[in-house]
């Protein structure tokens, strides 16, 4: 499963422009080029901004839902769970088209131009489930009597949350947020439909360049970069959310 990715990474060092195999000569040329090429830098910045924004929103909303579903039994609980998962279970085209339709057919003619923020809204929506899953799983493992003890000792709700609950699920929270970031960073299909004209995120830039075969190796460089930027948060996230009994 790793072979295609390795081929891609190796190809980013391919001196020639054509992605043929075996690689005739290796060089860093394309990496240097990519580092100074303005469209790539702008796209990278956009990706980071969108990912950061969506992660913030998703982390906040996802945590809220996790607490709601963990501490209470109510009618429609399963439906809420379903709704949280839906943005990620539905194909990206559908989500993208739905948002794009709302923005273009309904909001724009009404004078409300959502533009850049529209990307963040869309990304946040499918990132919620990432945070939710992680926090919820951790909440289930937590001991509720600690909260009760805190209340017995006179702490208010916010105080209990801040001093007792949050430290306990903090790592799961960060893990979920990192996953959300990675997901948003690498997302392309929904972005295709929600990005304002002229704005690129890194994966979107790659997509547009793919139809130009001459730039193949630069694309490989950027793609390798995307792999790295996506993998690192995920790796950290995995280590953070490992249960104490699994750590050796």
């Amino acid at each position: 499963m790793y072979v295609p990715l390795l081929v891609l990474i190796l190809n980013s060092f391919n001196q020639s422009n054509i992605s043929s195999w075996p690689i005739a000569a290796f060089s860093f040329d394309w990496w240097q080029f990519a580092a100074t090429y303005q469209p790539i830098r702008t796209a990278l910045l956009n990706s980071i901004i969108v990912a950061a924004g969506s992660t913030l929103i998703a982390a906040f909303l996802g945590t809220l839902v996790a607490f709601a579903l963990k501490g209470f039994d109510f009618f429609g609980k399963g439906t809420v769970n379903l709704l949280v998962v839906l943005p990620i279970a539905l194909p990206g085209v559908v989500t993208g088209v739905a948002f794009s339709n709302t923005y273009n057919t309904f909001l724009s003619p009404a004078g409300f131009n959502i533009g850049y923020f529209g990307m963040i809204v869309a990304h946040a929506t499918f990132c919620i489930v990432m945070v939710f899953n992680n926090v919820f799983a951790r909440l289930k493992r937590m001991n509720p009597s600690l909260q009760e003890a805190s209340a017995d000792l006179g702490a208010g709700l916010w105080q209990t949350f801040r001093l007792v609950t949050f430290p306990q699920f903090r790592t799961a929270f960060v893990a979920g947020a990192l996953l959300a970031f990675a997901l948003s960073f690498d997302e392309v299909v929904v972005t295709i439909f929600t990005a304002p004209p002229g704005v690129d995120t890194l994966p979107l830039w790659i997509l547009k360049e793919m139809s130009r075969p001459n730039q193949a190796s630069v694309v490989n460089v950027v793609a390798t970069l995307v792999i790295l930027i996506s993998l690192i948060p995920v790796y950290i996230s995995q280590r953070l959310s490992r249960a104490p009994d699994e750590v050796r």
């Binding site: 992605s19 709601a68 839906l86 194909p91 739905a98 339709n101 017995d152």
Partner: protein, 293 residues
């Protein structure tokens, strides 16, 4: 307890909320629900409405109205029907292939591998999931081009690999979504008590029979959970078809190509994967598979 009554006065909000569970629940869930329902579900709903509208042939603007033409065209235009069926079959193939690889792998990881191998494999399966969707498509393209890695590696045997076509689409889609199937299956197999395997072989079943008659029925919820992703994501995919499929058309391709010029048709077509996924999710929920995702 006297301490509590004294402090209740200094924390009126907390005391108030503590007694009213419903209010706390509402406070927690209001904002996320507003977002998901008010923003996302509403968008889906608006999409549904758009599917009933017209496009003015002269100005290409969407006009509110009511027509069933868009939906009818899904069933009458031959290209649409064949695309839908093709996509359905591809999605089924991807799911089947994923199960085929996931079950033996799951058994190996759960029952045979040593703990460190198991952990390493778990990480190894999950990590590529995050390498990036588009990146993996490029990678597969790279490997399977004419002068690519695959042909070079198999040249000594004299086989040349699949070109950009449906088999490659199926292969790439399986490559993409395999972790979604492998993980729930692995978790489920792990939970099968080992004495069931012993009992099965006591009764004379060989390996294959045990898998078929003992393991599979027990992990069906997990397979369903995994297949929600492999199926629906394949059903709605369009980039894989575009970049590794040559001229293969899938439902996603049609939706994407229509959204700008003919939103109502694209909207109508989007209802197909939506309807499918909703039904699938509702069925899965009844089997309790949703918790396994």
């Amino acid at each position: 307890m006297s301490t509590q009554t004294t402090n209740a006065g200094s924390r009126p909000i907390s005391a108030y909320l503590y007694k009213r569970a419903k209010l706390r629940l509402f406070g927690l869930i209001a904002l996320p629900m507003f977002w998901i329902v008010g923003v996302y579900i509403l968008s889906l709903f608006l999409l549904l409405i758009t599917a009933f509208w017209f496009v003015d042939p002269f100005t290409s603007k969407v006009i509110p109205g009511f027509t069933l033409d868009n939906f009818i065209s899904i069933f009458t235009v031959p290209a649409y029907i064949s695309t839908s069926i093709r996509t359905l079959l591809i999605a089924l193939a991807v799911t089947g292939l994923s199960v085929l690889f996931a079950v033996p792998l799951g058994i190996y990881m759960a029952k045979i591998a040593r703990p460190w191998v198991r952990n390493a494999l778990t990480v190894a399966i999950t990590l590529p999931l995050w390498a990036g969707y588009l990146v993996k498509i490029i990678a597969m393209r790279l490997v399977f081009t004419e002068e690519g890695f695959f042909n070079w590696a198999l040249a000594p045997i004299g086989i040349s690999g699949p070109t950009f076509s449906i088999p490659l689409v199926i292969l790439t889609l399986t490559y993409l979504w395999f972790p979604y199937m492998a993980l729930p299956v692995f978790t489920a197999i792990r939970q099968i008590p080992p004495n069931l395997f012993d009992a099965s072989s006591d009764m004379g079943a060989k390996g294959f029979t045990t898998i078929y008659r003992v393991v599979l029925p027990l992990i069906i919820p997990a397979i369903i959970a995994g297949s929600v992703f492999t199926f629906s994501l394949s059903l709605g995919d369009y980039l894989v078809a575009k970049f590794t499929g040559g001229s293969t058309q899938m439902i996603g391709s049609i939706i994407a190509s229509n959204i700008n010029l003919n939103p109502p048709v694209a909207a109508a077509f989007s209802m197909v994967p939506i309807a499918f996924v909703l039904i699938y999710l509702m069925v899965a929920r009844r089997t309790g598979s949703l918790e396994r995702m």
